[in-house]
Symmetry: C2
């Protein structure tokens, strides 16, 4: 699978994925750009059924966690670098928000490279956005030390489904020339019109008894109440891990 053909794979064959293959793909992925060549990330590779069972509810029981042979949790990691500094009598000033942002960035570039390489190697992946919904739970289960934070989870396995590629916005609605342009209401309506016209989305509106697709997002999928509660949880966990005062 190339970047152009990429799609999320949620069902995997009951077939192991060789550990050396995963490690070799991760090694190549680490060629991604990284802040000052500090490589501010780690990855936790979970294969044990017992640990998947405690991770699964933290990911809202999405079936990919139990169904995939390999679950990779990508960690923004300033712990390793800070410990090296401490062992070198160097004053490591990385217990702050900018440093978290830098480590999260490093981890995401590494993670996306891994996904591209895994797909080129015939594997399927699913990105679990739920990683930051209850980070403290994941921190506890994976025993993440200070100055580390889970930012992405990828389930990996050989594909056992071949879904259609989902829609995307027209790239002209994403690109702004020179500066961010003033976008009219009409532009916004036009940008999302195709998405609203899809049969699948019309069905979601109907079964959720909503007036339109945007309300399915705001009232059912990603609600203000959940987002605000999870924001507090994420900020609390950042404090506990030492990234925020």
């Amino acid at each position: 699978m190339t970047i152009k053909d990429r799609k999320t794979i949620r069902k995997y064959k009951a077939m192991d994925v060789d550990k050396n293959l995963i490690h070799s793909l991760l090694a190549t992925a680490s060629r991604a750009a990284t802040m000052g060549n500090m490589q501010l990330y780690s990855v936790v590779e979970t294969r044990s059924q017992a640990i998947k069972e405690v991770l699964a509810p933290l990911h809202f029981n999405q079936p990919m966690v139990m169904g995939a042979p390999v679950v990779l949790t990508f960690i923004a990691d300033f712990n390793r670098f800070t410990r090296w500094c401490e062992l070198s009598d160097a004053d490591a000033g990385y217990d702050n928000f900018l440093s978290f942002s830098n480590a999260m960035t490093d981890a995401m570039l590494f993670c996306q490279n891994f996904c591209t390489l895994a797909e080129e190697a015939g594997l399927g992946t699913c990105f679990l956005g739920t990683t930051v919904y209850n980070p403290q739970g994941i921190i506890d289960v994976l025993k993440l030390p200070r100055l580390t934070f889970p930012v992405a989870t990828i389930t990996v396995g050989y594909p056992d489904e071949n879904p259609e590629q989902p829609d995307r916005l027209d790239i002209s609605d994403i690109i702004h020339e020179e500066t961010y342009r003033v976008v009219s209401d009409e532009d916004i309506r036009r940008a999302y019109a195709y998405k609203e016209s899809l049969q699948e989305n019309k069905h979601f509106v109907e079964i959720n008894k909503k007036q339109n697709l945007a309300q399915v997002f705001t009232d059912c999928r990603y609600t203000r109440r959940d987002n605000e509660a999870m924001s507090r949880g994420m900020l609390d966990a950042l404090k506990k891990q030492g990234f925020l005062k």
Copy 2:
């Protein structure tokens, strides 16, 4: 250039990069995973000399900003989606930190995909981590509205240099099996020993009159004082853009 061969390119030929090529690479890059298919990102494409001149000091006058034909600023963007919700009588609850994190994640995956595709197409790229050092300055120059935030800048052009690939940590120091392992001081010292042994790094220690490489990072490159000041600036800008209360 493939992911395995990737290196940062800081010098570019005085040769334009076709706009259609950039847009087509961005369209393909948008195949990256995205939270709920919301595509929470935009990209500002800067080619004008005048705007590069005001961006350059915000990137600490790194010469790539003026030297590259194209400067792309990747934006975590919940503005477009929120406006669609507002036009649909839907209560958009995305003015919070979790939503920023989701949008930053989406933007980073999209950005890394773009870099991989650009390199495959023979272009060179440089990731400017300085984007979050003075985000308010970039917000002002690029006229970024509420619920948007600049998270990455990529300079793009045809390579006019062919540097060596930099070192990377051994992947075994990045991977943790099942849970984050307790890493010994010895493990840490061993992980960074190769980096410390490089002639180039020994030279940095010498010219900066430091005892070791870690001190070059903590005392010269990424200091506590700078990180703490820039953390405050980043959090202030997040508040101003509506992502933090």
